[in-house]
Amino acid sequence: MADNNTPTKQRTMAENHRVGSFCATALFVIVCGLIAFPLLAGLTASLRPAREIFQNGMSLNLKVSEWNLHNYAYLFTKFINPKTTDSVAIADSNKYFMWYKNSLVLTLTTVVLTLLVCYFVAYGMTMYKTKLGNFLFFMVIATMSVPFEILMLPLYQEVTTIGLINTNAGVFLPGLCAAGTIFFFRQYMQGLPKELLDAARVDGCTEYGISVKIMMPITKPAFASMAILCAMGSWNNMLWPMLVFRDTNKFTLQIGLNTLLTPYGNNYDLLIAGSMFGIIPILIIYLIFNRYLVAGMTSGAVKG
């Protein structure tokens, strides 16, 4: 024991620690550099002439002197709907901003409705001791273990029959009771004291009043983390909206960007600029609510 406390030993240990600390930190600098690389490459490519991207892909040679905002300027001012479109309202308007707006509207509607519905469903499952609640929770797990892609085609037919094709409702309705979101709300509510409910009942609050006035404010952090995950999913969702939307003026940003890739030539200049600008909303939300996100996405991992 005495050996451990000699000054030389302590010095080597401190030195080892410093070397280890340097190596570990250096590793993360390298990993994060590699992770940032494609995005930085995309960003610099968006500042360079379109022809060059088309010919060379994204080059390592930065040529900073040639940087300009032409691609963005073209995207924001010249990329407009033709005069001859069916709808008068969208003729001559900017195509990119139209997709952007569609995505924002769809994402906002999806997030608000999904969170509210999932909250009340989870509340009903968790706050009352019923057999139904346990059965429904089992069904939540069951829906989670069937990949969406299997339901895609029959669901597409169904949505067409109901008449929801080409509408926002057709996109968000099938996913409104998101199993993951219900699961998370349930996990969160299980940790809350149920005595609050009885106290509120004694005070004459109705069952529905309790769920809105008492429990909702307490579950705010859960709402925050689910809101980000849901917003990310909705903003970046592509496969299902691609099937539901037919008209170009209904397209979301992701589908719209995808249409820039055609067999007759790819508009990489518009695509890169549009992509880089399209990350911004979700990046802002992420940077602001980052700490809630971690809590949200790890909820399922705790219990396994």
């Binding site: 993360f28 940032a36 009903g124 299997i150 009771c177 995808n258």
Partner: protein
């Protein structure tokens, strides 16, 4: 009227009212499509006329070389992503949560950013990075190493390097965060007693961290199995459409999309979907059994 209201507001009925949206959604948007999907796999739909064809779609599938390629690609992709996206993020998580790494918060924030990009954007970035011209970054890198340009996306070996790098780029940070949260759930006093017993860092990892991290590991493996098997858009974006050279990027869902949407053979496509579901359930069952999550429980401690 007030009687109805009284019933609706009672403590017995309220849970049913709360659960109603889920029940409706479950029936309309899950059970119904699931059952129709399975039924449709035994039928052909031609211009609205449905004929019962029995298991002929399935026997045809067994002989379909494209389907075999698709299944093999999906399974291979799943195995490779499991090998890459479980151990590496786990080690990174252990390293980032150990006291020795500086500026931990910053690295966590940066490493998650790729998951914010959509498949369209990430697919485009990687396609441009790996494009076959002499000017693309990966080919410039090859030039620096004294090699000549490679048509990356034209053959399976190099094309899959791009595909797997794309996958790692998007998911390493996400999986790392799962493991970080798992690590935070481990009781710190266990490490202290391990220290007193004189355990080395490697021993601590094998005998304390790994066993206690098991729920997280099982969770990450489960979601990776599903995500790997149902991968489609990554290859769709990387190869700019659903037809890659020699079908090197064809996956089960890609084939389902091709038959169901592009050539409108709904019955056949549904059979593909049913096979995918069976493969996913079997693999997941084996996995949950092997990790001891279901079945007989091992005694811990």
């Amino acid at each position: 009227m007030s009687k109805v209201k009284k019933i609706l507001y009672s403590q017995k009925v309220a849970p049913f009212v709360f659960s109603l949206p889920f029940c409706i959604s479950l029936l309309v948007f899950w059970l119904y499509p699931l059952v129709t999907g399975i039924l449709m796999s035994f039928q052909t739909v031609d211009f609205g006329v449905t004929t019962w064809v029995g298991v002929s779609h399935y026997t045809k599938l067994m002989k379909d070389p494209f389907f075999r390629t698709a299944v093999w690609n999906s399974v291979e992709y799943m195995i490779l992503t499991l090998l890459l996206l479980v151990p590496i993020p786990m080690l990174l998580a252990v390293l980032i949560e150990s006291r020795i790494t500086k500026a931990r918060g910053l690295w966590k924030i940066i490493m998650y950013i790729p998951a914010l990009t959509s498949v369209v954007i990430s697919g485009m970035l990687f396609r441009l990075m790996f494009s076959e011209g002499d000017g693309s970054q990966m080919n410039q890198l090859m030039h620096m190493l004294g090699q000549s340009s490679i048509p990356w996306l034209k053959s399976k070996g190099t094309g899959w390097v791009a595909l797997l790098l794309l996958c790692m780029w998007r998911w390493t940070g996400v999986n790392m965060l799962y493991f970080v949260s798992g690590l935070n759930g481990i009781d710190g006093s266990l490490y202290e007693s391990a220290d007193i017993d004189g355990a080395s860092p490697t021993q601590k990892f094998w005998y304390v961290t790994l066993p206690l991290l098991r729920p997280t590991t099982v969770y990450v493996i489960t979601i990776s199995v599903f995500a790997g098997l149902s991968m489609f858009l990554e290859s769709f974006m990387l190869w700019n459409g659903n037809s890659s050279p020699k079908n090197i990027g064809l996956t089960i869902v890609g084939y389902l999309y091709k038959r169901g949407i592009e050539t409108n053979e709904l019955g056949y496509a549904c059979a593909v979907g049913v096979v995918l579901m069976i493969i996913a359930l079997v693999i997941n069952f084996i996995q949950l059994f092997a990790t001891g999550t279901i079945g007989f429980k091992k005694k811990e401690d």
